[in-house]
Every structure is written in C-alpha cells, then in structure tokens.
C-alpha cells in the first residue's frame, strides 16, 4: 500500500481517536494485511463495453418521470390501455415477462424510430442498390398487410358505378384509399376505358444527370435485442428457449383489452408498427343486428353526418400525440376524399354504402421531398378514423426513418420521359391491353419528387424511394375513375426498361391502372 494512503487512513483514525496512535504498528500491520488480501476482481473492460453497448445501443433515453424512453420504438405503450396482453403465444409467463419489458422500455412521450442520435441517411456508393430495371410494374407491388388481427380495409378504389355498388359488400371498407394493401377483385374490374394523355405543360427540361435513390434501413436487430436477450435465457412453460440458438424476436402482438381497444403489431425485421382494431372489443352490426334491418340501418353512415376534414384531422392528431407517435418527418395531414368521386358518380346515393372509416394521410417527407405512391398519391402514415365510434381504428405505415442513399444516373431525354407519360406512365397497361372507349386527357407540368417502390430480392423485402416526375391530369371528366396523376420514374435504367416493355407490347397504351 502506498505510504501516503496509509498515513492518510491513520491520520483520519487518529482524529477520531488519538489513543489509537499508541497501537500504530498493529494498525499498520492490520491495514496492510487487509490491503494485501484484496482479491483481484478480474474486471473485464470488454464486459463493461458490452454492457454499455447493450444499455445504450438502442439509444435508450431516459424519460422525465416514468422510466425508459427508447427512440427505436415508435409508440408510447404507456398511453395505451394498461391491460395490454401479448398474444404471440399462449404462455402466460412469456406474456408477463415480455409485457414487463415492453412497458418498462418504452417512453412516456414521443417515441419514434426517428432518432437524431443515429444517422438517418447513410451514403452508399453509386448504383449500390443494383439494377433498378427490376422495378418493373410486374415486379414491384406493395406487400399485403399481414399483421395479425388486421382487418385492414382494401386499398382498391372502385372504378365504375357498378363497382361502387359492390363496395358495400366489402368486408370492412374505408373511405379513401384504405390502408396497407389489398387485393383486386375481378368483380371490380368493369368495362374499361382507355385514356390517351397529351402533355400540355411547360417545356420539360431535364438537366439533372444523377440523383439520389433511397433504401430504407430495417431489421438490423437493434430493436428486438432487449427482448432477444431476455428470451434466450428463459424457460417458458414446457419449453426451454435457451436450448435454441441465436433466437431473435421477429414480431410481437399486443392488444388493448378494453372497449374500442386496439391491436399493436410490431415487426422487428421490417421495423414497422401496425395498429388495428381488437375486434373482440369493437361491436358491429354483424354482432348485434341479426335480421333486424332497422338495426343494420342504424349502423350506416349518412353523408350529412361525416365531420369536416379539419375535425377528423384534429382527432387523429390528438390520437397520435397521445400515443407519442412522432410526426417530425411527415407533412401536413390530408383526409383522403377519393371516395367522394365514387359517391358523386353514384346514381343511387340514398343506397350508397358509405364506409364507416375515413382515412387521414400524413405524407412522408424524406430529404425535404414528399413521397408518393406509384400512382402519384401521397404516401406515408395513414390513420383510420371510425365515424360510427368516433375513434381511431388503425394506423398503417408507421416505419423506421433511416435510409441508405445511392446515386443513380437519370434520364435527361425529355422526349423519352414525355413519351412514357403520354402512354400512362409507370404501371400503364397492367390490367388491360384492349380498351372499349378511348378518351384523351391533358397532362400538366410535372413536379419532381420521390416514389415509393418495393422490391423483393434475395428473400428480403426492400423499400426504395425513386426520383420521379409526377404529372397532374388536368381535365379529368366527371366520370373519370383513373389516377389523377401519371408518374414516370427518372432513373435511366428504369426508363429504358419501361420503353422496352411498351415496345414489346406489354403496355396497353394508356390504360389507367385500377389499383390506386
């Protein structure tokens, strides 16, 4: 022991009890014996760093009053009903343990995959995402909603009056575009009208030779590792999970056990959260009315009872704020009123089935650019509001906000771009190659923005944001059910592929895709 330290201890003892000085030799021997007996603790810096990483790798921040905040997560579960149960398995113990972890590791206030402490844009080399020509209309489609408990409303917008009538038969319709995918029923594909487009906008100058393509980063394992480490060491009921190797949490499902409760499905690999109705807690006409037509009628929405857009948006804003869903990277909310086109076109408005949910979209903004879907509609967070119950019934497309970026060569030949646009742009002619009527519509000056594409490659579902031009359709007729926008992606290899497809006859020459 260092002499000065020993002396310090002794002096401190003498201050307390000066008589101890008479036993100084004995004290020194005792203290030195103790110090020499000190075991080597084998402190391992690797352990310290690993633990620190575990604690902080999820960018766990500390909440102001109730525990952990994890910006990896999107939502404030504490503002959900406390009686949330995990339904991933039937084992109650597992549910309790995971629930405890979740509740303790989510924030009270704004939670989001969006996190300032982690780089949101990671540069990759030019052309890093491979050949974009693979993003042909037949290869690229939004994945179907697969979350457990989802009764997500169809993304199909009817295209004729007859199909409008059939909407009333759909299981769970939603006003507007619905959320999260859907299927196209052949019953909705009615006699088709072909549209030709003529560009009437300003002269098109394409001077940008390269531009950024974005690929969403997801599934890096950070989000679930807390759960993984917990699960990997546990025995749940009849099974010893620690006997399995490298277990990772793919997804979990939680549900609010209360009236109008919600399901929360978290997909750790996709880094998405889907919120939908816990159907056990939402009463419907189907549950209550039997053969009583008056009862069924009481569940129907009247056109006059639909609230103003601003009121609906306020309701959804309040919901998102309460649940801690961060809107930093979304633009101004807009109610999806496309359904009104169908309603206005209906010849039997009294019997027109108005879906009971209205959809509010918060457009995603990446690098200052608004993101659209492949038909030029706003793409982003979608919140469904149930008009019968005056409650939010679902949230779709809640995703991480981290992207790899890569530069791609853009097409600068405006003639090629306009040629594609005038043939209906991306996705034209998917459904029909023969049209019964032909109508010519005008295209206005396009805006340049990003279009959301999916690509399934190497067993991975990739999401890409591609620079594209979005042309507005200037003079849609009253009975026009086609897209109000024509989109043309700008990467050179996609343009070449689309032109080749057209010349090979796979494009029908201006048939508007029916899927919106």
């Amino acid at each position: 022991m260092q002499k000065d330290k020993l002396n310090l201890i002794l002096q401190e003892l003498y201050v307390w009890n000066p008589r101890l000085k008479t036993k100084e030799t004995e004290l020194i021997e005792l203290i030195e014996l103790m110090v020499k007996a000190k075991p080597d603790t084998n402190f391992d810096m690797a352990f310290a760093e690993s633990l620190k990483k575990d604690l902080l790798s999820h960018r766990i921040l500390l909440d102001s009053d109730e525990g952990l905040k994890d910006d990896n997560l999107l939502i404030n579960f504490k503002n959900m009903n406390k009686k949330i149960y995990i339904i991933t398995g039937s084992l109650a113990l597992m549910a309790v343990v995971i629930f405890a972890v979740m509740i303790n590791k989510v924030p009270k206030n704004s939670l989001s995959f969006i996190n300032s402490s982690k780089e949101q844009f990671v540069a990759a080399g030019p052309g890093a995402f491979g050949n974009l020509a693979l993003l042909s209309p037949t290869n690229s489609a939004a994945p179907q909603e697969t979350a457990a408990g989802s009764k997500t409303n169809s993304a199909v917008a009817p295209t004729t009056q007859d199909s409008v009538a059939s909407v009333g038969k759909m299981a769970s319709p939603v006003l507007g575009l619905g959320g999260g995918g859907g299927t196209i029923s052949s019953r909705l594909m009615m006699p088709v009208r072909s549209y030709d487009y003529v560009y009437k906008g300003d002269p098109l100058e394409l001077t940008e030779a390269t531009s950024t393509v974005y690929r969403r980063i997801k599934g890096d394992g950070n989000l679930s590792s807390n759960l993984d480490s917990l699960i990997n060491t546990k025995t749940f009921g009849p099974i010893n999970l620690s006997a399995f190797s490298n277990l990772q949490t793919g997804s979990i499902s939680l549900m609010e056990n209360k009236k109008l409760g919600l399901n929360i499905n978290i997909d750790f690999r996709e880094e998405t959260i889907y919120i939908g109705q816990n159907w056990l807690q939402w009463q419907s006409a189907r549950d209550n009315c039997g053969d009583n037509q008056a009862c069924w009628d009481s569940y129907r929405i009247k056109i006059g009872s639909i609230p103003e857009d601003s009121i609906v948006i306020q309701k959804t804003n309040d919901f998102l704020a309460e649940k801690g869903i961060n809107l930093d990277h979304y633009g101004a909310a807009k109610v999806d009123n496309n359904w009104r086109v169908n309603y206005e076109a209906s010849t039997d408005k009294a019997n027109y089935y108005i879906p009971e949910e209205v959809s509010v979209i918060y457009p995603l903004v990446v690098d200052g650019k608004t993101v659209y879907d492949q038909n030029g509609n706003l793409d982003g967070l979608r919140v469904n509001y149930n008009l019968l119950q005056n409650a939010v019934s679902g949230v779709n497309n809640l995703t991480s906000y981290r992207f790899e970026t890569s530069d791609y060569n853009l097409e600068t030949d405006s003639a090629k771009i306009l040629g594609l646009a005038q043939k209906g742009g991306y996705g034209s002619g998917i459904f029909y190659s023969q049209a019964q009527d032909k109508v010519t519509l005008e295209l206005g000056t396009p805006t340049k923005s990003l279009i959301h594409f999916w690509r399934y490659t190497n067993n991975v579902n990739e999401e890409l944001l591609i620079p594209a031009l979005i042309f507005p359709v200037n003079n849609p007729p009253a009975d026009y059910f086609g897209s109000k926008f024509i989109t043309v992606p700008l990467p050179q290899e996609m343009v070449t592929e689309l032109i080749n497809n057209n010349s090979n006859g796979s494009s029908g020459g201006g048939i508007t895709p029916m899927m919106r």
Partner: protein
Amino acid sequence: MLNHEEELNLALKAKLGDSDAFALLYNANIKKIYDFIYFKTLNKELAEDLTSQVFLKVLKNISKFKSDNFSAWIYTIARHTVIDYYRSRHDTKNIEDCWDLKDPFNLMDNLDDNLNLEKIKVAMKDLSRSDRELLIMRLWLDLPFKEIASSLDKRESAVKVSFGRALGRLRQNISPVLFLLISFSTICKKIN
C-alpha cells in the same frame, strides 16, 4: 472521477432523457460497482451478471431518482441486488452476501493465488455485514471516507468512527497466533 456535484448534475440530466449523461455516469461507476459486487460475491461471472442487473435497474428507475446523492442511490441498488440474489437462492433470510455463506470461498476465482486473503477470510466472515462493507469500501475499493459517507448516506465522522471500530473487530477476529505471526513477519521485514 466525478465529484458529488458533477455526478448529481449528470444524474439529473439523465433523468430528463440525456443518454450522454447516462453514459458518463456509467463510465464513472461501472468499475466501482462491479468491484463492490465482486467483493460481495467473489465470483467474476456472478459479479458481472449482478452488475448488469444494477445498471439496468438504474436505467429503468433513473426517472424516479429524487435523491441529491446519486452515489448513495447506486450503491443501495447494488447492495440490494446482491442481497436479493442470495436470499432468493438460500433458505435463510439472513444472508446478504457470499461472506454470510457457510463456505463463502468455494466459488472464488483465485483463492489459491491469494494467501493473504486466506489469512483473514475467517476474520472477515465473522464481521457484521456493515463492518465488512466498510472495510471493503475503504481498503479494497480505496474510496475516501467522504465518498463512503456519501454512498452510505451517513456523516463522514460517523463513517470514520465505524471504520475504526470495524478494524478493531477485525483485529479481534484474527487469531492471536496468526496476528503474532503477521507481526513477527512485519518486524523481520523491517530488520531486513
């Protein structure tokens, strides 16, 4: 090393969600807490496991931190984590660390290499937990009395008094023959 005010300031920042502040607190305390736990368990793997639990508890509960003494708070968590571990694994409710076990050293990593510990282990075992902890904190963790007082949330003068008394009891617990040998050895060294 952080002083009391710096540590408190970081704790308050961490409480408000500052992860950098938490990281600094972690850096300042990880070895101290690990060593503290090791001296109560004498087993590396167990010490690491319990240390992990301590910092997870700190993380989970920092938002509830209301004290003006972070050091006392984290040592309390560490102390209780060790106690909980032993009490959950043994029938008796009186066990607070490995020294209370019938044979505290059968799990020890490097007993064979530590002849000095061999000399005092029985004497240490016979001390009260608080005496033992005080000696460990001052002589093994090398914490100043001021910090020990802070971590125990006691007055510094009271800690010094307790330390002196703990030394006295340790002396009493060491067998007279052994202490004679130790003294003789010390005298020989001085002569040489």
